[in-house]
Symmetry: C2
Subunit: 484 residues, 2 copies
C-alpha cells in the first residue's frame, strides 16, 4: 500500500522526546507514512510569527491534510497568540475528539470502568472571542451557535459512534436557560439522532450531566457538547480517568485533521528522558485510524495496552505495588515496540475496522431552507449613569419615551435581563447598561423598517442619549426570534 | 432575645414533609423564629400566577427579608416561568452559596475529605437570557459581566471565608479566551484579594480548575465563579461529595436572602414519609447563621452530624454495612432532635460565631470612577447568504467597500470571529452572519461620531444590505475596549 503523507511537528519542551518515542513505535508497527516536518513553537514565535507557525508551514498542512503535533511553549510576554487557536480557525477544525479511558488497576483512578469520548464543538460559542466594553461598568461577549456548526458536530458524534461501535450518544446543553442558542443545538441533536436508530440518544442539562459525569462516568459513552461545556468537561473527564498525561485528541476539519496530546510541553521535564509519550502516542493512534491504517493502529494500541498492563510505567504513572518497572521515555517506547503482536489480558484489547466509503454518505451539514424573516423591532442599548445603582429607571424611562414616534414605541427597558420599566421595582440593582425595546406602535409583531430604526437612532442622538449597540428583533415564519 | 420574622413556604411534592421535619428540629433546638407562611408552587401556578408566587407574597418577603423555601413542582406545559429565577431577579439575589461536604465513612463518597464552598455569581453571564435569532443560521446570546456585579460576588466570597474561618478563596475563569468579560472578573478578584491578607487567594483557568475539583476536591476551600461555571461546578461538587440530596444553599441579596435544599420536589416520593430532609435542614442552618442565631445553628448542626454518624439514615443514604437504622422523614427529624446537645465524634463538630457588626464595613461594591470613553468605530453585523458556506467573502467585501465613505472605512470582515476579508482564506467555512468593522478612515483609534454611524447605516440600507445588529467600538482612557 502507498504511504500516506503526514505533517509532523516536534514542538518544544518534552515535545521532541515524546514525538521521537511515538514515531519509533509507529515505525516498528509498520505505519505507512511519508513524514514532512515543520517547525512550530517558541523559536518560530521569537522569529516574529505571532501564532508560532511560519507562513510556509500552512502549505504542508494543506498538502498532507494530516498534522501530528507535539506540545509547544508559548513565550512569555505579550503579542503572542495561541497556535492551537490559529490552526483551528485557519483550517476550520470544527470537532475536538477526546477519548477518556481508565486503565484500572494499572493506572490509579477512582473510576475503574470509565470509557468516555467527549466530542466538543470547536469553532463557536463564547469562544469566538468577540467582546466589547461599551460602558464604564459592563463587558459583553457574544455567544454564537449556528445551525450548520451544530449539524457538523452532532453529525460527527453519531458517525464517530457508528464507526467505533459505540452504543450511545449523549447531548449536554443548558436550554432551560439559553432557550435559543442551546435550544438550537438540542433541536439539531433531536433531528439527527433518529437517523442512527442503532445508537441510543439522550440528553442532560449540563449542570446535572456534568455532576453525573464526574461521579459515575461509567454511565456515559459518547458525549457531544457546545464548545465551552466541552472544554471544561473534556478536562474533567481526562483527569478523573487517570491523568491528562494519558489522553490524546483529534481535531477534525472538512479538509485537514490535527492529532495531539492534550497536555503541555512541560519545559521543566524536558531533555531528561522522563516524559510519558502516551498522550501523543494515543493521538497518533487516532491519526492512524483517520488515515485508514486500522491494522497498524490496532497492533500498536494493543502493544501499548500490554505495556501498561505489564507495569512498565514512566514516572508519572509509576505507583509502588502496582507498577513493575520504572522506565524513561525511550525505554517505554522500546517496551511498546517489543510487545507488538501481543494483546492485553486484563484490559480490553482494541479492534479497529477499515474506513468504509459509503455509497450515499450523509452530508455533514444541510443547505438552509430559509424561513420568512420579518423585522418587527429593535433593542437599543444605552450607556446611562445617574450616580446610583437603584431607583433611576423611571427617570430613564421618561427620557426614552420622549424619542418615541414615527411608528415605533418603547415597550420595555431592561437592565441585565431584568425588566425595570414600566412598572419596575425600586429595589432592583441596575448598572449603566440599559436595553430599550422598541416595537411597532400598532402592536408587537407589526412590521418595522430599517429606515424607521435609523430615524429612531437619530432621535436618540439628538436627545443626547448614548446608543452603544443595537439588536434587531425578527420573527421567523411568524414566530418570535428573540427572548423576552 | 426577640424572635426573628421569617417567611416559610412548604412547596410541593416532598416539600411539606421535609419542611415539617426541618421546622421540628429548629423548634426543638430553640430557634427564635416568627414564621409567616406563604404558598408557592403548583397550585399557585395553576391559579394563574406565571411565576408560581402570588403578588401578595412579595410583601412578606420584603418585610421579613428571610425566606426558607421548600422545593416546588412547576406544572407541565408552557407559560410557566421559573419561580427561582423570578425570586432571584426580583429581589436581586446576587450570590448563590453552596457548601459541599463529604461525611465519610458514614455516607458513601469517592472523596472522603471534601469540604468545598461554591460561591456562584447569580445575576449575570449568559444567564441573563438575552437571545436573538437574526439570520436563518445563527442564534446569539449575550454574556454580560459587570464591574459592580463582580465586586459584589468576589467581596461576598472573601467575607464568607473570613466569617466562617476559611483559609483560601480560589477564582475560576476562562480569561485566556474571554479576555474582557472573564478578564474583568479576574481583575476584580486580584484587586479585592489583598484586602484579606489572612486568606490565601489563587485562580485557575476553569477547565483545569474543574478537572482538579472533580478529581481532588480536598485541595479546594472556597471557590468563586461567574454564573455559568458556578452552575455546572456547584452541581459537580455536591454530587461528588455524596449526593445532591445532602446539600443546602443560600441565595443572598442586598436586602433579602433565600435558603433552600438544592434538590427538587420528587413528586414520586411525596407523602410516604421517605424523603431525606437534610438538604433543606442544612439550608436552614445557613439561615440561622445569617439571622445571627449561631447558638441554635451549632446545636442543631452538631446533632444532625451525630445522627449521620450514628448511622440513622433515610433510604437515600442507607447502605448495608455502614448504616445502622433505616428511618423515615419524621423519625429522622426526631433522631436529630433527640441528639440536641451531642456532638459528633468521628466527623468534625461545627462551631458558629455571632455576626460581628464592623465599625467600618467594606462596601459591597464601589462607586465608579469613570474613564475617558471615546467612540472609535462600529461593528455592523449583516445577514447575507449567497448559497455557499465557502469562498463568498470577497464578493461581500466588494459590496461593503461600496458603502465606505464620510470618514469611516471598512477595516475587516469576520465570520464567527474569523477574519475573512481582506486576504481571507478560501477554505474558511462561513455562515450567513457577518461582522463588518468600520473605523476612522484616518486610522484606527481616531474619533467617530454617532451621526457618522447613522449615516453609514443609511448607506447599508440603500445598498440593500440587511443590517441585523451593531456594536460600537470604544476606547477607554486610550485603551481599546474591543477584541480583534
Amino acid at each position: 500500500m502507498a504511504n500516506t503523507p503526514v505533517t509532523v511537528a516536534h514542538g518544544d519542551g518534552i515535545g521532541p522526546e515524546i514525538m521521537t518515542a511515538t514515531l519509533h513505535i509507529l515505525k516498528e508497527a509498520g505505519a505507512r507514512l511519508d513524514i514532512e516536518e515543520i517547525e512550530i513553537g517558541k523559536q518560530v514565535y521569537l522569529a516574529g510569527n505571532s501564532a508560532g507557525i511560519a507562513p510556509a508551514s500552512w502549505d504542508s498542512l494543506r498538502r498532507t491534510k494530516v498534522f501530528l503535533k507535539a506540545p509547544i511553549t508559548t513565550p512569555q510576554g505579550g503579542g503572542f497568540s495561541s497556535l492551537n487557536v490559529a490552526v483551528r480557525k485557519t483550517l476550520g477544525l470544527y470537532a475536538n475528539i477526546r477519548p477518556c479511558v481508565s486503565y484500572h488497576p494499572f493506572v490509579q483512578t477512582k473510576h475503574p470502568s470509565m470509557d468516555v469520548v467527549i466530542v466538543r464543538e470547536n469553532e463557536e460559542d463564547t469562544y469566538t472571542g468577540i467582546e466589547y466594553r461599551q460602558t464604564d461598568q459592563v463587558e459583553e461577549c457574544l455567544k454564537l451557535i449556528s445551525r450548520p456548526g451544530s449539524e457538523k458536530i452532532v453529525r460527527y458524534a453519531f458517525e464517530y459512534a457508528k464507526k467505533f461501535g459505540r452504543k450511545k450518544v449523549t447531548c449536554f446543553i443548558k436550554d432551560n436557560i439559553m432557550k435559543r442558542t442551546d435550544g438550537l443545538f438540542h433541536k439539531i441533536f433531536d433531528r439527527i439522532a433518529p437517523e442512527y436508530p442503532e445508537i441510543e440518544a439522550d440528553h442532560w442539562i449540563v449542570d446535572i450531566g456534568a455532576a453525573k459525569l464526574a461521579d459515575t462516568p461509567e454511565n456515559f459513552d459518547v458525549i457531544v457538547m457546545p464548545n465551552l461545556y466541552g472544554d471544561v468537561l473534556s478536562d474533567v473527564a481526562a483527569q478523573i480517568a487517570g491523568s491528562v498525561g494519558l489522553a490524546g485528541a483529534a481535531n477534525i476539519g472538512e479538509q485537514v485533521a490535527m492529532f495531539e496530546a492534550i497536555h503541555g510541553s512541560a519545559p521543566r521535564r524536558a531533555g531528561q528522558n522522563l516524559a510519558n509519550p502516551s498522550g501523543l502516542f494515543l493521538g497518533a493512534i487516532l491519526m492512524l485510524v483517520h488515515i485508514n491504517q486500522p491494522d497498524v493502529a490496532e497492533l500498536a494500541h494493543n502493544a501499548w495496552l500490554k505495556t501498561i498492563e505489564d507495569g512498565v510505567h514512566t514516572y508519572d504513572m509509576y505507583k509502588e505495588g502496582i507498577s513493575k518497572e520504572r522506565v524513561g521515555t525511550k525505554e517505554f517506547a522500546e517496551a511498546v515496540g517489543a510487545r507488538l503482536g501481543q494483546k492485553p489480558e486484563t484490559l480490553k484489547p482494541v479492534t479497529y475496522a477499515a474506513n468504509v466509503a459509503e455509497a450515499d454518505p450523509k452530508p455533514i451539514y444541510s443547505m438552509p431552507e430559509p424561513q420568512k424573516k420579518e423585522l418587527v423591532g429593535v433593542d437599543v442599548f444605552l450607556d446611562w449613569w445617574k450616580g446610583s445603582f437603584h431607583g433611576v429607571a423611571n427617570e430613564l424611562g421618561a427620557l426614552v419615551e420622549a424619542v418615541n414616534g414615527d411608528g415605533l414605541k418603547l415597550q420595555t427597558i431592561a437592565n441585565r435581563g431584568v425588566k425595570v420599566y414600566p412598572n419596575g421595582l425600586p429595589d432592583t440593582f441596575t448598572v449603566d447598561h440599559w436595553r430599550c425595546r422598541f416595537v411597532n406602535d400598532a402592536g408587537e409583531g407589526g412590521a418595522v423598517t430599517h429606515a424607521q430604526i435609523i430615524a429612531l437612532l437619530k432621535k436618540f442622538d439628538e436627545a443626547g442619549l448614548d446608543v452603544i449597540k443595537t439588536e434587531n428583533l425578527y420573527n421567523f415564519d411568524g414566530a418570535k426570534g428573540y427572548s423576552a
